[in-house]
Symmetry: C2
Subunit: 327 residues, 2 copies
């Protein structure tokens, strides 16, 4: 895989974020020419420390994807666009629905319009989310499952994903989407639960404080970030992927309580308290979720390689060393 | 039914449009207090002539639903909101996707936010569209059919519909959506094909010019506007409808060629030419479509009453008399 990105011009929106920065690191190893676009809005996932050590090998361009003028320029002369910028907080999307719409819908449309006008030969991989399925009818959820988002974020991400597929189908701008499930690993946001509940668990664990597990019975699957990066690269390289959506996943399926126990076991110490769901979360909760990643396995040969325990161990090790940069 | 709207305060967005003005006429008969909100943008469906004869019995408020300030005021003190304002042209949505997004997504969210903040007891009926299904997997299409919109308009209407269902489910703001199929009748836009292909057919027929039938083999179902109005009123009255989406429909299913022949037969004269699909339409075409309206029949007791031939006859009669007001 490494060779196919050598010298390729790659732009990553949300490039200073969790998945974006891990993807950037891999692409730098592949000798790609990488431009990272990020707004560095404090409430979102961007963090300059996440590119520590590769700063001189990437171009960092601070811009917000809601700004169509910078977008219009930045997609030009690029071979690949990894389109990862997004508002990820479900609760925030209910409290500020128009902000979520601006980022997750309108900016996506303007990115695609920029590609159509300026660079229709670009290949786009879009970071979508399993949130758009809503409460599953059946498990594991595959890509044919109905989309019934339960929060504003889910609706807007669904629209954003469809714009990509539409531009592929109508204009031939090669695009596909990965529906990410909970992704974990170094460089995730741990300051709060805006990106993933696990971030704040790990932060509190390392700070020696008890973390909160809400309910605890819900089932989840998790993808280690290096595996997610693999999926983005495979999807970018494959014309088989064009116009398609793919679930990511990972095993084993765990309840939140099992996950909390495993986290403490891997860490060697720690404690948590079980709480009722806060009402503002309960009303947008999706219940149990785990996905089937059979489509991406058969179409692109992807499968998760990093076991959950190993992923948690690497993540804890990273934040033991670098927590101060993420607070 | 008439009694249940007596004295009710009702606001209709898109109230000077095709369905909106027909709905307004019925509500005036029911002695409702009716406010019509419309932007009267020339490219859209609003037309002051459509409320000729009831001008003094409705309140006409010229405002664009993209203006959150007027929306915030106008939803207050209302019992019912019939939310019909929308950009309806599929081709326009591809040429100006952000305009479509502003009207069909963002304005919808701001209308719902206004209701949440100012008038959470309001009941909302949203005008959605069968366009969100995309190319059908099976016929007739029921509400469980996957949503796979094939144009920007379809994506944005899908999001707009979901916002309504979400605000019903999360905030208890009673809302439901009707997925309209081709609707025909007096006061539809006939100047061009922005609202419905049938409008421009009827215009040319009355002007004694040949109209164009593209391809001609595609199957469609059509709803006469009085039947659509029935559905809006039934949905508004019923708490059974809350949180649900309903297809409308109508029989018989016809090919476009059969419809063209029937139109000429009803008119007593006329001619058409069959053409290939223009490319900008072909790439967003949905193929054959007709829907099942079993859900609204069993849940709300709705069914279409006006036969297709009768609907065409009434429509032609209206435009023979009033065509000049719609050019």
């Amino acid at each position: 895989m490494n060779d196919s990105f050598r010298g390729a011009r790659v732009v990553i929106t949300g490039g200073l974020g969790f998945v974006g920065s891990n993807l950037a690191r891999r692409l730098v190893e592949c000798n790609a020419e990488v431009t990272l676009v990020d707004s560095l809005i404090p409430e979102y996932g961007g963090n300059l420390f996440s590119v520590a050590g590769i700063e001189d090998r990437v171009k960092i361009n601070i811009a917000d994807v809601r700004d169509p003028h910078s977008t219009d320029y930045l997609v030009q002369r690029q071979d690949f666009l990894f389109n990862l910028a997004g508002q990820t907080s479900h609760v925030d999307s209910m409290q500020e629905p128009e902000t979520d719409l601006e980022i997750n819908c309108r900016a996506q449309l303007s990115i695609l319009e920029a590609c159509r006008r300026r660079n229709p030969k670009i290949k786009i991989v879009f970071a979508s989310t399993r949130q758009i399925y809503g409460q599953p009818d059946y498990l594991p959820v595959d890509e044919n499952h109905a989309l019934r988002p339960v929060d504003v974020n889910g609706i807007n991400k669904m629209a954003g994903e469809w714009y990509h597929i539409l531009y592929n189908n109508v204009y031939g701008i090669r695009a596909c989407a990965l529906r990410l499930t909970n992704t974990i690993g170094p460089r995730m946001r741990v300051k709060d639960a805006r990106q993933t509940f696990l971030g704040v668990w790990i932060r509190l664990l390392i700070e020696g404080k008890p973390f909160e597990v809400w309910d605890g019975s819900q089932l989840r699957d998790l993808t280690y970030v290096d595996d997610a990066v693999d999926a983005f690269l495979l999807a970018a390289q494959s014309d088989e992927a064009n116009g398609k959506v793919f679930n990511l996943g990972g095993g084993p399926v765990v309840s939140l309580k099992q996950l909390a126990d495993l986290l403490i076991e891997v860490n060697g110490s720690g404690e948590y308290v079980t709480r009722e769901f806060p009402p503002e979360r309960k009303r947008i909760d999706i219940g149990d979720y785990y996905g089937s990643f059979e489509r991406i396995r058969s179409c692109l040969g992807w499968e998760p390689k990093v076991p959950l325990r190993e992923g948690l161990s690497r993540t804890i090790a990273f934040y033991r060393q670098h927590l101060n940069h993420y607070l």
